[in-house]
Structures are given as C-alpha cells and as structure tokens.
C-alpha cells in the first residue's frame, strides 16, 4: 500500500479473455533461413541462422538467417545495381510502387498486427491501432512526395544519395521499417535494411509485399542478423547513407565508424523525456498522458515520458491518482484485446530494467508497483513508479526502456526547465498546464526535438520527429525528413 493512496474507489473491473487468433500470423509461412536480396530469397553464404522467440511465452517461432559480411556485400551490390534505374524512374512511377505497398499493408493489416504482437510481445491493441496503421500512413504519405521533390526545400531537381543502409530497433519493428524505407525509396534511393535481432518477422513479411507490389529487384533488400550484421552494413564502403534508430551508445559507435568517410548519417537515439505537470493541469487528462507516456509499449519507447516532473503542491494528489490508474492496467497475454501492458521484448532487456530498478531502490527512491500477477512464462515487468527520486539517481539519468517511471518535483517553471534539460538526451518532453502562454514559454526552453503539450506520444508521417543533443540528429517525417535522403542538384552524392 502506498503512502499516497487515497480512496478513489476500488478499480475492480473484470474482463473475459478476448484473444486475437494467433493463426493469423501464419508463422508457418514466414521465410526461414533466407535473406531478401535482389528480389530473391537467398540463403546466407555460411547458412547461419538464429532463432526468434515469443517474449510472452518463450516459445520458438522461427529460425531466420544471419547475414554475414559476404551477404551484406551481396545486398549492397544488389541495391547498387538497382539504384540507376530506380533513381531515374519518374517520381510518379516510384510513388505508385509506394502507394501499392501502403495498400498491400492495409489489406493485410490484421495479419501484420498479429505477427508483430507474437514476435515483439506488445499488445495487439497497439499493433492493430497504432503500429500497422501508422506504418501504412508513412508509406502513403511518402508515396505522394516521390513526384514532388522540387518542393522539398532543396531547390529544383534534388538528387538521391545512392544506397541507404538502415538499421532499426525492436520496439516498433514494422513502423521503424516504414519510417526508414518510405522516405528513402520515395526520394529515389535504394535500401539495405537490417531489422532488429529479436524482431525480424514483420520485415521478412514486408519483403513479400515488395514481391506482390512488383517492386524492382534490389530496390529494397532485407538482411536479418544481430549486431555484427548491422555493424557490417553501416561500415560498408558501398553504402552512401546510414540511418540508425537505437541506443545512444551504438549511435556513437556508428558516428565514429563513419568519421572521415563523408557518408551521410542520421541518428535517432535514446531519450529520458520529462513529462512536466503543473498544478493547474487538467489532472484526469494528465494522468492518462502520464500512463500513455511511460507504459505505452511497455515503456520500450525512445521518447517515453520516463521522468515525471510534478509541481510540488500537487505531487501527492498526482501520485495517488496515477497509482490508482496504474492498478487498472491489465498486464498479460499480448494477443488479448484487453491487454494494456505486454511482455518485455527480451530476457536481456528485462535484466536491464530489473537492474536499473534495483539501483533506484538502492539510491533511496521509494518503489511502488501494481502488484499484478505475472504470467509463469515469458519476460514481464510490472508497471512501476519511483517517488522521491534524486536528480543524480541513475533512474533519473539513464534510459531504462521499460515500464518504470521516476517522479521528481519542482516549484517554479524555471526549475522545471532546468531539471527537464538536465540530461545528455533531448528527444521529447511533455507539458501539462491549462495556461497557454506557459506552454509556449516552456516549449521554447525545453531542449527536445518533440514537445507534446497536454498530450503525449503522438506521431504522424507529416510531423518531423527526432532529437537534439545526444538523442541524435536528423528528422523523420514531413518535408524536413526528406532532407536526410537528398542533396541539392549539382552537389555531391550518387
């Protein structure tokens, strides 16, 4: 029982199980042990494979190929071969391929949602209502850009860079694929994409959509594998542009690896967002925003609102309401349509979350979790909130990438800004107040690439997303996002 508890009425809602049909994932038809290179399904040179498991049940799902250096070579060569024709294609025609892909994904949305949930562990409600539709929206939005690049802000007839090497994370596997692939292809680049080690299945399925769309061979190549595959891809001399979403540590490695090469780079890295709640905030909405900010996708979100900065006078009331709301979160079978919090993506990630939470306790913060029952198998972590967190605490400084919220307080807007900006990161921030002028005052001062005011975790293909400071550089989405894949006519590039 928390010392903040007040009687808000017991949340005693019962739900009957409402599982989505697992067969829809069609696991038996996932291309196993093969890479998608040059429009064909090929085995890796050394025949290496790796298993992918369900985070919720730990059952074996498939054995996917592990691309070695020779396979990465082959994929880059295929992308290089495809580049002249693809970049010379009229934008209108390139766009039509992307429109096809968007439609094919919409048509098979349910299948993709189930497959993503099975492989990633995130709730079907999120894959169904967010990941897959937003991925389709990104494809659709960028499809329309392909023949309008003269208006991208780079002058008339901007040119593509060549071969893009793209490495994406496991938290939004299909959506990150769409964020990377759609602008690259729309602008006339060709792509070698490496999906995350633990979540390769929807990318392989997406390759099937490319076949169905008659996308020319080599325009999009998909090489599965672990860190070594990604490292080989981003360092490959045949790659003209690298786009990476993932941890700040790996992002720095990539920036170092590309030093002196002149190859273009965009990085979307970690975050430690402050979600700032003022005393005059609409508290019911703010509580929903806080919950969405940190427990959406099990907190596996680079822009998660993992630091709650509460004005001191409402701290106890906010924490009490928050804990009351958290007690209603349903953790469990990700395929159940009523599930709010799914499985942690991997044993390794669970270990990291567990270790950081223990550090929070050791450093003197007060720990509270929902106490909900955890399934017997799989990787799980209860929604957790720490109060009394010091600014210097590891749980206030380091990205946990899990369902763990750290609560700090402030007294003045100036103090809120100072605390919010007091990390090496700068990806996102949240503001909750009814006072419009204060929102705009804060939005100017928060060092973050995205600021959500009286909302949180909103994404749209038309809206540029990306970080400042050690959260990376470059933007994804909107007109500004196209700049990562184009050079003005007459300048260097492919």
């Amino acid at each position: 029982m928390s010392r903040y508890a007040v009687d808000l009425g017991a949340p005693a809602w019962e739900y009957a199980p409402a599982p989505e049909a697992r067969e829809l994932a069609r696991l038996g038809t996932v291309p196993q042990g093969r890479l998608f290179i040059g429009g064909a399904w090929v085995e890796p040179a050394d025949g290496a494979t790796m298993p992918t498991h369900s985070p919720a049940t730990e059952e074996h799902l498939a054995d996917v190929a592990v691309a070695g250096p020779a396979d990465v070579d082959r994929a880059v060569a295929a992308a290089r071969d495809a580049f002249p024709a693809w970049s010379a294609l009229p934008g209108r025609e390139r766009g039509k391929y992307l429109f096809r892909l968007a439609r094919l994904l919409q048509e098979r949305a349910r299948e993709f949602a189930v497959l993503e949930t099975v492989d990633n562990g995130k709730p079907i409600r999120e894959t169904r209502d967010f990941d897959v539709p937003t991925a389709a929206a990104h494809l659709f939005h960028h499809a329309g850009w392909a023949d309008k690049l003269d208006w991208a802000g780079l002058g008339p007839a901007p040119r593509p860079l060549g071969v893009a090497g793209q490495v994406i994370p496991w938290n939004f596997p299909l959506l990150m694929l769409a964020w990377k692939v759609a602008p690259a292809l729309a602008t006339g680049n060709t792509v070698v994409l490496k999906p995350a080690e633990t979540t390769p299945l929807t990318a392989l399925r997406f390759a099937e959509l490319c076949e169905q769309a008659d996308l020319p061979p080599g325009v999009l190549n998909i090489v599965t594998g672990a860190g070594a595959t990604g490292a080989a891809l981003v360092r490959h001399p045949g790659v003209d542009k690298v786009a990476f979403t993932g941890s700040t540590a790996v992002g720095k490695d990539i920036q170092r690896a590309l030093a002196g090469t002149g190859r273009r780079l965009t990085l979307e890295l970690g975050g430690k967002a402050a979600n700032i709640v003022f005393a005059d905030a609409p508290l019911d909405q703010a509580i929903e925003g806080i919950v969405d900010g940190i427990f959406f996708n099990q907190g596996h979100v680079c822009c998660a609102g993992s630091r709650l900065l509460v004005e001191e006078s409402v701290h106890d009331a906010v924490v009490a309401r928050l804990q009351h709301r958290m007690a209603t979160l349903r953790l469990g079978d990700p395929l159940d349509k009523n599930t709010d919090v799914g499985a942690v993506n991997s044993a390794a990630q669970l270990a990291r979350i567990t270790e950081l939470a223990a550090a929070g306790e050791a450093e003197g913060a007060e720990r509270w979790d929902t106490g909900c029952t955890l399934p017997d198998r799989g990787h799980w972590f209860r929604p957790t909130v720490f109060t009394g967190v010091a600014q210097s605490s590891r749980i206030a400084q380091e990205e946990i990438f899990g369902p763990v919220l750290s609560v700090l307080t402030f007294r003045t807007p100036e103090e809120a800004v100072a605390k919010a900006n007091n990390t090496p990161y700068g990806l996102s921030a949240g503001i909750w107040t009814e006072k419009g002028s204060r929102i705009l005052w804060l939005a100017d001062r928060l060092r973050a690439g995205v600021v959500w005011a009286n909302t949180f975790n909103r994404f749209d293909p038309t809206s540029p997303f990306g970080g400042v400071k050690e959260s990376g550089f470059g933007r994804e989405g909107g007109r500004q996002g196209l700049a990562a894949y184009l050079v003005p006519a007459g300048e260097g590039g492919a």
Partner: protein
Amino acid sequence: MSERLDVRRTSKLFIGGAFPRSESGRTLEVRGHDGAFLANAARASRKDVRDAVVAARAAQPRWAGATAYNRGQVLYRVAEMLEGRAAQFTAELAAATGDAEAAAAEVAAAVDRWVWYAGWTDKFAQVAGSVNPVAGPFFNLSAPEPVGVVGIVAPRASALLGLTSVVAPALVAGNAVVVVASEDRPLPAVTLAEVLATSDVPGGVVNVLTGQRDELAPVLAGHLDVDGLDLTGMAGATVEELAALEVLAAEDVTRVRPAPAAEPDWTAEPRGVDRITAWCDVKTVWHPKGT
C-alpha cells in the same frame, strides 16, 4: 620635420567580448605574401579554447532569446562597421595575398554577405519550418532552433569572406560561435573581432581564436559543450586527420559539417540556407484542439 611613427596594434584573441592575449603567453609570427613581418598574433592554447566555449555557452541563450528582428539589426550593424573599416581590411588582405584589387572585392563581398545573412534572421524559420497537417485534432508546428555552441575551423585562404561565410550563418538562428581563424592569415579575423565588438553583438556570441589550426581543432572537436562542428577550414586535410576530429565529435553526438575536398569559391553567392539550417535542430510542438 620627422615622419610620424605609426602606432601598431597588438593582435589579441577575442573571448567573451574582451581582448585577452593567449593565457599561454605564446604568439605566432605573421608574415605577408612577400615575407615581410606583419604582427605577432596570439597563439591560442587548449585553455583559451575552453574559456571561449564557456563564454559562448554563457552568451548563447540571450542571443537565441533576442527577437529575430533584433538579431537581424545586429548582424546588419556588423556590415555597417565592416564597411567603415574597408580600407583596413583591404590593406590586411592585400598584405596577405599581394593582390590589392582582389582584396577590395573580397571586402565588398564580405560586407554584402553579412547583409544577406542579416536579412535571413526573421525569414529562415518560415522556410525551414512548417505547419504539419497531422491526421488528428492537433495543432502541430515545426520550427528550427539553434543547436547551441558551434565550433568553426575557418577557411585557410579566404581570411575575411570565407570567415564571414561560415560565421554569419551560424549566428542567424541564435547560435554562439567559437572560431579558429586562418592560421596563415589571421589578421583580418582579429580586425573582424574588433568590428564585432562594436556592433552590438553581445560579448561571447562570437569568440575568435588565432593560433595553430591542428593544435586547436581537436580541442574544439572533443569539447563536450560544443554542439556543432564546422570543419570547412580543414579542406585538404588527410582522411585520417578528418576522421580523428569526427571521432572526437562523436563522443557527444556533435553535429558535424565535414570538410570539403578543397576550399570553396567564396565569391559565389550562397545557394541557400544550408549553412543556417546545418546549425539548427527542428523542434515539433503538438497541442490538442478542442473546446
């Protein structure tokens, strides 16, 4: 009647709005195209770079917080002051290059370039920003914001126009700058610092260091309070030298504008706002619409 002996200037650094010598006490002999002695320029040290970054960091919020109209007027004032010193700049450039005609043209072009960038302060956000038509009931606005402190290695040959072409655009959005002047031709940069000091540019917004490029550039590149790194003045350096600087910059994900293969032709008009936006990050703000 004897001829009057002229009063020569002591060549100093420009840090935080003041003109200190290098804390190291070192100087660098500057000679003209004909080998004649011109001056002893201060040879900045690692410590001077750090002091300059501290000054830049302290000055940056106020500069970024000034209205775009105000920044525009201040940068235009730089052009005014530069114009008034045209003869001095021309003489310095001519002493460095031996070409008086080209020197005069370079000064004129530099004045015009300050004017060009001064005019951008209250316009580039409309060019680089956007209202985003998101699929939902939200107000959604993206606008460029300065990255903070930009470290610049200034071009080696074009000591005034090249210097202007890299420093002025970084200032447009509200960044503060630490610039390492041309090692071979540092005197126009020293004079430009005197222009800046009398142009209402707040102290610390531009800090000018003279000295040895290869000694100072790594300190700038590796400084954790430098947010952007312009390596334009490293043109012609080896791949290994450039890689070493960019590796240092990666330690805190510093934005890098890499060195071109050769020093650009600065007399060409700027093609666009890329040198402004290079030192900006786009910020996107969301707010629900409702009653």
